[in-house]
């Protein structure tokens, strides 16, 4: 390996990355008795912030109240919150080792950076609402539930691909 070469290294073969990811998921099952997740951490953090800004509003809201618990322990001391912190670190480490850290806007060739950021925000909003309806996202439902043959997760996974392919034509300008 040439240490003076700072160009980004190629990504791993998708099947081998998938195998690695599968082993991480398997170890979560074996060690913790649960799978991976992501979206739930955002709800915990939002509930905590809302509780700090508007305590009465947060405790009266059924969704936040679920995440705030009985108040004896911070909702941030949560498995998913710590797992997502790990994701940030793991992603950073992997990119750093492969020279892929870059301050940039990733986008299709035909839209401006400004438009891309607006769509990224809107996509985040829609994605999160979907994840809350479905009780999980691509990690917590599709990956985890898929491996557990969870009935709802497989229906969910088919719908993610279905929704994505159905919408793809209308948003082709963003990516092609």
């Amino acid at each position: 390996m040439n240490s003076s070469d700072h160009s980004p290294k190629p990504y791993w073969n998708p099947y081998l990355s998938g195998f690695g990811l599968g082993l991480v998921l398997l170890s979560a099952f074996v060690i913790m008795g649960r799978g991976l997740g992501a979206s739930g951490a955002f709800t915990s953090v939002t509930a905590t912030v809302m509780h700090a800004i508007a305590p009465a509003h947060a405790t009266n809201n059924a969704l936040y109240a679920n995440y705030l618990g009985d108040g004896t322990q911070s909702p941030l001391l949560d498995w998913l919150v710590f797992e997502v912190l790990g994701v940030l670190v793991g992603g950073f480490l992997s990119a750093a080792l492969a020279n892929r850290l870059k301050f940039a806007v990733e986008k299709g060739p035909r839209i401006s950076s400004g438009s891309r950021l607006i769509f990224a925000f809107v996509g985040g909003v829609i994605m999160m609402i979907g994840a809350l309806f479905a009780l999980g996202c691509t990690s917590g439902q599709a990956l985890t539930g898929g491996a557990l043959l969870n009935a709802g997760s497989w229906v969910f996974m088919m719908c993610v691909f279905g929704g994505g392919y159905a919408a793809a034509y209308f948003f082709r300008k963003l990516w092609l």
């Binding site: 994605m127 557990l148 159905a166």
Partner: protein
């Protein structure tokens, strides 16, 4: 060895957060290695240009699925202790479709956006901000759509239980499906992606060449075949019973649940528990608590109940219910409870609550509402208690519970017709 380690108490909540962090590092690392920190790589999936999302996802799913299956089959992992997200069919269809649309618009999913943000991508950071906004939008709307988010509830259910097929057969089928999808994905990339065939791709190199991906594919296929032949992963579990804990729970009453709590759960349409009626089928058919399933003692096993779910037992015979509780505990069920007082307790405290001397009007009003919801009626005094109590104590309690003895003159009682109609709905 007993796994999952956490479920068997090998470490506590504090340590679990450290585990979470380490597992997260692995998760983030492989997502980044796969190229998932960069949105065009992900979005390309939906334009058939680059199928890496499908390849990575399905490889991960079948790796974890076959691995977990085999570890369960040899008795290392107790599969029934692994948490299953409950199925709510319609909300999950709607959620899935929204997620797919959000994926195309935003270019990430929640996990990959974290990797993107952590590696400096501004669109990833903005996407994360969008997700926080999404939580706030949903939270404000949540109280108004409780009916929707809880509809079509099916409980914690695997495809194997849903279709009544052997678990191993489904594992094998999913492996085959995934490998088929990989072949199609390679073809699509060539056709739509305009990609030169990877000279080292698992379908491109000469048939006799051994490559890591080929070894992986063959290994997963072999694991699938083993699953097909090896039967149920739920067999071969070893359970250790903590008798001290069992005695402590029984002694402190920590293993009982009040009928009024069950009533609240039913009214709230909660889905995180299973209510089991242990009585004979004819008694069950005559009357049962709404949502209960009828399981006689002989069919109490992991095949009909999930070990990781909260189970509440009731019967007309408290000794029988207690025996059933112990039977389930010996089978490794972790959270089994008795309905306090059994069906009689339900009858006396929920269907026909009595106003106790010290009770204020508002509290009794609430009890009355709940009673009417379930087709019962409150009693102002316990004067008529003896009649109502005596009847269900008769040798054949079921009919009396089915047609509860109404107090002669319930103060402000509901008309008999309405009473009957409501109970049929139960």
């Amino acid at each position: 060895m007993n796994a999952p380690f956490y479920s068997f108490g090998l470490f506590g909540d504090q340590a679990s957060l450290v585990v979470a962090f380490i597992i997260g590092i692995g998760f983030g690392f492989f997502l980044e290695r796969a190229g998932f920190g960069v949105s065009p790589n992900l979005a390309a999936q939906f334009y058939l240009r680059d199928m890496r999302v499908l390849k990575v996802m399905f490889t991960a799913i079948i790796t974890a699925m076959t691995g977990l299956y085999l570890l369960s089959r040899i008795g290392f992992v107790d599969l029934s202790q692994v948490y299953l997200v409950p199925t709510f069919l319609v909300p999950q269809i709607v959620g899935g479709l929204l997620l797919g649309i959000g994926f195309v618009i935003g270019g990430y999913c929640p996990g990959t956006s974290c990797v993107s943000a952590a590696t400096g991508r501004v669109d990833g950071i903005v996407y994360v901000a969008g997700m926080f906004a999404g939580v706030m939008v949903y939270a404000e709307a949540y109280p108004h759509m409780l009916g929707f988010v809880h509809m079509t509830s099916m409980g914690q259910i695997t495809l194997a239980r849903l279709w009544d097929l052997p678990y191993g057969l489904l594992v094998f089928a999913v492996v085959l499906m995934a490998l088929g999808a990989f072949v199609v994905a390679e073809w699509t990339e060539k056709k739509f992606g305009g990609m030169e065939p990877d000279p080292k791709g698992w379908l491109s190199v000469r048939p006799w060449r051994v490559t890591p991906v080929r070894v992986l594919v063959l290994g997963l296929l072999a694991a699938g075949f083993v699953a097909l032949a090896a039967g149920s992963p739920y067999r071969g579990n070893h359970v250790t019973i903590d008798t001290k804990d069992l005695a402590l729970r029984a002694g402190t009453g920590a293993d009982t649940i009040q009928p009024t709590d069950i009533a609240d759960w039913i009214v709230q349409d909660r889905n995180d528990y299973t209510l089991v009626d242990l009585r004979a089928a004819k008694d069950f058919d005559a009357y049962h608590i709404p949502g209960a399933q009828n399981l006689p003692m002989t069919s109490l096993s992991a095949n009909s109940l999930a070990r990781n779910q909260k189970i509440v037992l009731y019967s007309s015979d408290s000794t029988q219910a207690a025996k059933a509780l112990f039977l389930l505990e010996t089978q490794g069920f972790k959270s089994v409870y008795l309905l306090n007082g059994g069906i009689q307790g339900w009858h006396d405290t929920v269907l026909f609550p009595v106003k106790s001397p010290g009770m204020d009007a508002a509290a009794f009003e609430k009890l009355a509402l709940v009673a009417k919801y379930f087709g019962g009626a409150p009693r102002e005094t316990s004067a008529s208690t003896s009649a109502a109590l005596a009847a269900p104590m008769a040798p054949t309690p079921a009919p009396t519970v089915a047609a509860p003895v109404m107090p002669a003159a319930p103060a402000g009682g509901i008309p008999a017709a309405q009473h009957k109609k409501k109970r049929e709905g139960c």
